[in-house]
């Protein structure tokens, strides 16, 4: 019954919104492989492909918008774009302010990277501002140094400002691989967050429904898994056809 009312309300709303079919997707563009700016100056990455496919399936015309991570939630709620697709983990704190779709990226492991094996991850640790990693470091007893962009957190470890950086493991893997031995993973991986979902305004139930259906259909036919493997390698956790997470 409740669903019925919601659907009618959504229909009534959408009747007045003939032009509402253009959806603006907000991303950061500085977090490869999730999202980054490619050589041509366009937004590229795992989320670009997922977003384009979701829009196709949901029958939406989508446009991509770049926004600073710091102000990414305020700009969503004030309506400058309609969806956050920026590697944003689903957390309770964020869920109080915005809504999330189901995840399109399984719960992630975060990891520490340091410049030497003996680095003390209880000491000074760098993380990006307003991320689950920053919250975790603050709680872990280590001294947290926050930076506005992911790039600066890595630089802090390179120049010795921080002992280690704590971030999504998939962001760190290519950086460690190409650091010619200067950077390495230390300590254990930490599973954090409820996976990555699309951030939507709480009042936007209709759009959330459409995108949820589209994500479910991408999980069901395996196309999401193909993209996960393409961007994150074969070791990534994938989805079963019923949407459950399959770890490899």
């Amino acid at each position: 019954m409740k669903k019925l009312i919601l659907t009618t309300a959504a229909l009534a709303l959408s009747a007045g919104m003939a032009m509402a079919d253009t959806v603006r997707l907000g991303t950061e563009g500085a977090y490869p492989p999730y999202n980054f700016i490619n050589d041509a100056g366009e937004i590229d990455g795992f989320e670009r492909e997922v977003g384009d496919e979701l829009c196709k399936r949901a029958g939406l015309t989508c446009e991509w918008v770049k926004n600073d991570w710091d102000s990414i939630i305020p700009n969503l709620v004030s309506g400058n774009y309609d969806v956050i697709i920026a590697g944003m983990s689903i957390t309770d704190e964020r869920d109080e302010v915005i809504d999330f779709t189901q995840n399109y990226y399984p719960p992630t492991a975060s990891a520490y990277v340091a410049a030497s094996e003996s680095a003390d991850i209880e000491d000074v640790v760098a993380a990006q501002t307003a991320t689950i990693q920053a919250a975790f470091v603050a709680d872990s007893g280590a001294t947290l140094v926050e930076f506005a962009t992911p790039e600066e957190t890595i630089a802090a470890v390179r120049n010795g400002e921080a002992e280690a950086v704590f971030a999504d493991k998939d962001f760190l893997v290519p950086i460690v691989a190409e650091s010619s031995g200067e950077l390495m993973f230390v300590g254990e991986d930490v599973p954090l967050g409820g996976g990555i979902g699309l951030g939507i305004r709480e009042s936007d139930a209709e759009l959330k429904g459409k995108l949820d259906t589209a994500i479910a259909s991408m999980k069901a036919d395996g196309s999401l898994n193909a993209l996960l493997k393409k961007w994150f390698g074969d070791d990534i956790a994938t989805y079963g056809s019923d949407g459950s997470v399959v770890t490899n």
């Binding site: 007045g16 509402a20 050589d39 990455g45 700009n75």
Partner: protein, 295 residues
Amino acid sequence: MFSFCADPDALGTFRWFSCYLTNGVHMSFYLSFVKVLVLLAITAPVALSFGFVGAMAARSHVLPVSWLGKGYIAIVRGVPDIAFFMFFVIALDQGFEWVRHQILCPDWTDPIRQGNDFLVCTSAKLPLGTSPEWVHETYGFFLAVITFSIVFGAFAANVLFGGMNAVPHAQLETAEAYGMTRRQTFWRVLVPQMWVYALPGLSNLWLVLIKATPLLFLLGVEDIVYWARELGGTKTSQFTAYPHPDWRMWYFLFLLFFYLGFTRVSEIVLERLMTRLSHGQATTGGEALRKQVTA
């Protein structure tokens, strides 16, 4: 850009750089210089006129107008720039949308504020959700111009207010003694003379304005500092044909020269302007010029 850029890995240093520096992202970087210069070119006169109106209001003999002018100066000067750019712009944007909403969708019953969300009807959105991206960017740019103008206008108003008060009172009295009205005195005697007093303060403001452009990115306008940070950041070979380590230092060094050069050019121009304005003025600068001519 060049035909040999297809496989950057195989290129020598010079060709590698000629490809690297002309790829799509770098074009956006170069374009952002134009963007910043255009912003300055528009903002400076607009801010100056805001300042002029503000100073006129503050000097007004009508008390409420004078309060308005002084209030504007005091409030904007007291609020930190970053707060202005973070909150004022969102408020301004929402204000525009709210007004349009009231006019365009009178029979809308849902509340505009739902929890954290700000909801206006689709046709009141600014710009419309269906507009192409360049409209959104232009709108953001326009908001930036307004915000910069309001902020720098308040400082300019204070400088001009001081400049107007610095004009010797005897000059104004003489003008009145000749039978000029208050308006004539203002435009014919006060305004031409006050620039000399205001110019040092205004030139400071101009130099501060040049360097304030990184605040643009808070408004979603990608300025030169944003691109320097983005381009200079570590690039791994998985995501680009031109991998490189952290080169932000070089990009920022380039910006340093750009800003220094720009400031230097500004100084030269302002110095000339000062000489020009000092002609025939009853100030030490004007006196020095007079002696040069007669000597």
